[in-house]
């Protein structure tokens, strides 16, 4: 077991090194995209600013509290853009062209290999900027999370990371059947975008959708509430188990889809 883990750690290091080399090669492109990400982040704050210029609270959330959600959202997005999307887009390409064969032939877990194929190191800047937003929000709030709250927040944030990753694996699994996935990833990102708002803003069916089906609430609202100390214990527990369940389901679906992969030639 220990040897296996060490082997995978070494493999991860190799993959990350490759990505760094690639990133340095296309420096200008990454720089442009990094700058664009900052622009989009700033634009995302505009509706928030306009709304809270008119109201002190919206659906029970004050300005700094909503800012915590936005900060967590953009942290997640940075991880997604930098660590998850590039790899998985790479797989989708492989499925279409049939080059996935080369990955499947390698003597390591295929899901591990495809999930670590590409990183965009410049996204770390986005991540740091987003931490800045969260810190600014707590500064405005005038109080900082207690150690306990910070721990729960961190824990739920890792659940959120797993959720995002699993959802993506599900999307990619779908691409074994529907070849055109660039549109699907566009759809995914457009729904994911709603995560910048506290889920309490949405009513009825939409809230159900964002809690259970596409669990945006678990990704941004609950971790934010945990940090703010307003999350109920039962919710935290449910979020944790829900996240684990989702990850397990994604793994099973991935393995099933892989079985139906027939390469491009056949």
């Amino acid at each position: 077991m220990k040897r296996v883990l060490r082997r995978y750690a070494r493999l991860l290091a190799v993959q990350i090194r490759t990505s760094f080399t690639l990133a340095v090669q296309y420096r200008f492109d990454f720089f442009v995209e990094g700058a664009l990400a900052v622009v989009w982040l700033a634009i995302a704050l505009v509706p928030l600013a306009v709304v809270f210029a008119r109201r002190t609270t919206v659906a029970g959330w004050s300005y700094p509290e909503a800012l915590v959600v936005v900060g967590l959202f953009s942290m997640l997005k940075a991880v997604l853009d930098g660590g998850v999307m590039p790899s998985l887009n790479h797989v989708v390409d492989g499925i279409r062209k049939g080059t996935l064969d080369f990955i499947l032939l390698k003597p390591a877990d295929a899901q591990f290999l495809v999930s670590t194929a590409r990183f965009e190191p410049w996204r770390i800047l986005d991540f740091v900027g987003s931490i800045g937003i969260v810190c600014f929000a707590f500064h405005r709030l005038g109080r900082w999370p207690t150690a306990g709250h910070a721990c729960t927040g961190l824990l739920l944030f890792s659940v959120a990371l797993m959720l995002v990753y699993s959802l993506w694996i599900l999307v990619v699994s779908l691409s074994f059947r529907v070849v055109k996935v660039d549109n699907l990833s566009y759809l995914f990102m457009s729904i994911f975008d709603a995560g910048r708002w506290p889920v309490h803003v949405f009513k009825g069916a939409l809230r159900m959708l964002f809690t259970v089906v596409f669990p945006l609430a678990l990704m941004t609202t609950y971790p934010a509430q945990a940090l703010l100390g307003t999350l109920r214990g039962t919710h935290a527990l449910l979020a944790g188990t829900g996240g684990l369940l989702f990850t397990a389901v994604a793994r099973v679906v991935w393995q099933r889809s892989l079985r139906s992969y027939t390469s491009a030639s056949s």
Binding site: V46, V50, R54, V178, V179, D193, K203
Partner: protein, 247 residues
């Protein structure tokens, strides 16, 4: 065939941003109107935004940059019809299908906004139609201009991303312009962005009087004329450059 249909559906679904903003603003307006926007106004504004965005949407910039990069534009140049005419024809051919898909939403819009919609006034209906057609044309030309930059630079699509970023704020796409700070709204009136989304929506749901709408329509078509001149000029130059690319 199924793949194409699902693609179309996915495209429509991924335009969901106005619906999210609608949910947000109706929550905000739950305890009293914002400016002159009540809950119903927000619903009709963002429904209108959704409809106009899909009707006047275009994907020329992606097609053009791809064809320029891969060189397939060359085959289009051989045909006895100007490529931009061909592009616009394929895009316009998609409109009837879009109308069919959108028609349930139009019914919902009518049901929500009812009396506010200027359907009884033929002059107004004409203005709305002209505004939506103009919005489509303006976006198409802007996309042609930015798309042709691909003949010069690698990252023409990044340029378009920047355009989209500015458009989402200055066109009233995220927030109705009249709820923005007054100076932003004023700046937006003299920039082209508003005439692609905000202006047709505002006339459609009756936020503007006929006189103002007519004046804004004039401004919109002025922008179109300007964009048309720029497109023609740039097209000739870019084409010369493109020939150098492939040959």
């Amino acid at each position: 065939m199924v793949a194409y249909r699902s693609e179309f559906l996915v495209w429509i679904l991924s335009m969901n941003m106005p619906l999210v903003m609608m949910a947000l603003w109706t929550a905000v307006a739950a305890d009293g109107p914002v400016g002159r926007f009540g809950q119903r106004d927000f619903v009709s504004y963002y429904l209108g935004m959704f409809i106009v965005r899909i009707l006047a949407g275009s994907w020329l910039v992606w097609e053009l940059t791809m064809e320029i990069r891969s060189g397939t534009l060359a085959t289009r140049l051989l045909r006895p019809i100007h490529p931009l005419w061909a592009f616009s024809a394929t895009q316009l051919a998609a409109v009837p299908m879009r109308v069919i898909v959108l028609s349930p939403l139009v019914v919902v819009l009518y049901w929500v906004a009812g009396a506010r919609l200027p359907l009884h006034d033929p002059a107004r209906v004409a203005i709305v139609v002209a505004a939506i057609a103009g919005a489509w044309l303006l976006l198409f030309l802007v996309m042609a201009i930015i798309g042709m930059l691909a003949a010069y630079v690698e990252s023409a699509l990044s340029v378009f991303d920047l355009w989209l970023a500015a458009q989402s704020i200055l066109s009233g796409f995220l927030v109705p312009l009249e709820l923005m700070p007054a100076w932003v709204a004023r700046v937006a009136r003299v920039l082209p962005f508003r005439y692609i989304l905000g202006f047709p929506v505002e006339t459609l749901i009756g936020l503007e009087s006929n006189a103002t709408a007519l004046r804004d329509l004039g401004v919109q078509w002025l922008f179109i004329a300007g964009a048309l001149v720029a497109t023609i000029a740039l097209w000739r130059r870019a084409l010369r450059r493109f020939a150098a690319f492939g040959g």
